[in-house]
Symmetry: C2
Subunit: 294 residues, 2 copies
């Protein structure tokens, strides 16, 4: 007997419709998790053809609001940025619950999300790892984009492994025509997910407006329109090089070269004692609302 479950397709990280990153969300909170198989969830995510499809279940751990399983068309992920923000948005709409702090249970543990009164949803990042790469690697990667970085690029391990490159300004970012075949070969050789290329918005004098682009040819994604984990990597990298001593908010835009207009509102939160927390958030809209037959 086919199951009919509530479905939403959410546009994540954009104020304007169709300018963000789409996410399919299926509400499995009213069924038992044993009623679906991993193979079934994977085949649905393969069929939606979106970068990610998520399934919401009743939480199995105390203190959580829902449990999410995140699938790309080819595999399951422990965590990802836009699926976390989009799943939280859908959870609030599916259930009608109103609260300003939501806790998501997922493959990397518990993720805390904050919800503002105007429905901006931000996640607090888990631990990140910053690693150096070789001079040769830097030169090779710069050649794939025909750029000269203004700070030493670093590898950011935030779940995916993004190599973050900073150039002078947004004009430099937007003009890049990447050699995707060469980039893919380098990513394959080095075990990287892809490149996050960013620069200060041209004309910005306050050091808090950035334009970024995300290239991940090895994942079958030449350019990801609006990438949460990439944005997290980018702000984590900025803190690595700037060592801000005070809490700072940042506005990151993304997607201009692929017809999107993503807005990510970020916070580098420097706590007393020097610990730093990172937040990435934005607005989302449920564009498709209905049911899905399993």
């Amino acid at each position: 007997m086919p199951k009919v479950l509530p479905f939403k397709q959410v546009d994540v990280f954009a104020e304007e419709l169709y300018k963000g990153n789409p996410l399919a969300v299926i509400n499995c909170m009213d069924i038992d998790a044993s009623e679906v198989t991993t193979e079934q969830l994977q085949s649905i995510a393969n069929w939606t053809n979106l970068s990610e499809t998520t399934f919401l279940f009743k939480p199995t751990e105390a203190g959580c609001d829902y449990k999410v399983r995140i699938f790309t068309p080819g595999s399951e992920l422990p965590f990802a940025g836009h699926p976390t923000v989009g799943s939280c948005k859908a959870f609030l709409e599916f259930t009608g619950i109103k609260k300003d702090t939501v806790v998501q249970q997922c493959g990397v543990g518990h993720i805390e999300l904050s919800v503002t009164s105007d429905q901006k949803i931000s996640f607090k990042a888990g631990p990140t790892i910053v690693e150096d790469i070789t001079d040769k690697n830097i030169t090779d990667y710069e050649a794939t984009m025909n750029i000269k970085t203004i700070e030493r690029p670093k590898l950011l391990k935030v779940g995916p492994n993004w190599l973050v490159c900073l150039v002078k300004d947004s004009e430099e970012v937007l003009k890049v025509e990447a050699d995707l075949a060469a980039m893919e070969a380098l990513d394959k050789a080095n075990g990287h997910t892809g490149i996050i290329l960013g620069g200060l918005k041209k004309g910005c004098t306050t050091d808090d407006e950035y334009e970024i682009r995300a290239f991940a040819p090895i994942e079958g994604v030449p350019e990801d329109p609006v990438c949460g984990s990439g944005t997290l990597s980018f702000i984590r990298y900025l803190q690595e090089i700037n060592q801000n001593k005070e809490t700072k908010t940042l506005h990151v835009t993304q997607g201009a070269r692929v017809g999107r207009s993503g807005n990510l509102y970020c916070k580098i939160d420097v706590l007393p004692g020097g610990k730093v927390d990172y937040y990435v958030g934005g607005y989302s809209t449920s564009i498709i609302n209905g049911t899905i037959t399993l």
Copy 2:
């Protein structure tokens, strides 16, 4: 003011859920066509990320049931196979109309569809063109798949331009690991959409069961899971080489190498006087049902 319109995502050419080719269909029949712009429709089709998204409008020509506009993520198409069958399925469900002949108005004119009592929907093909290609081209294409064709390949112009290659049997078809980079270079040089590779089902003694695969790397589709125009090209090619004098029905399966299980039921209809009509059809299911906000 945002518009909220009826939406379906249909699984086309498969009896089993999630084993066909998905199609997003938006019902614009209750609005005026002037209320949406081509840019808007294109941005929706870019966002759904499916091979095609269609929009149903009230017909503007006599004798038609609906008018459809078909978009890929990057452009508008005058005609395509699985979008035609899926749009007809959605039209019947959206309107509740029951009839066994439906006429679709689209960019190539009027397409006649037949609907059986168990909801198998078939389209009658418009004119097709069969062209020869050079010996050098044949050898080069065979090399990209490491195959030896058993009949001379031909170029089939059915809207897309498919090069059809026939090998001994389905085993030969399914074992191919195509060199997609080499294929893409050849397709670009020759203006081809891609390759349809087919063979008789291994063990079939009745000459009417075929397995095919569709490669279209130039379109960003390494392998199309279930392709209507490709299947039409394939049966048109079979008639070119076999010159059947009597009407013949064929069952074509597709998608096995990419986790799908598409079934296409075809007819080569030899009319008195020698004219031949071609029909391609199958079963579809509306998996997602709801609304979309424009």
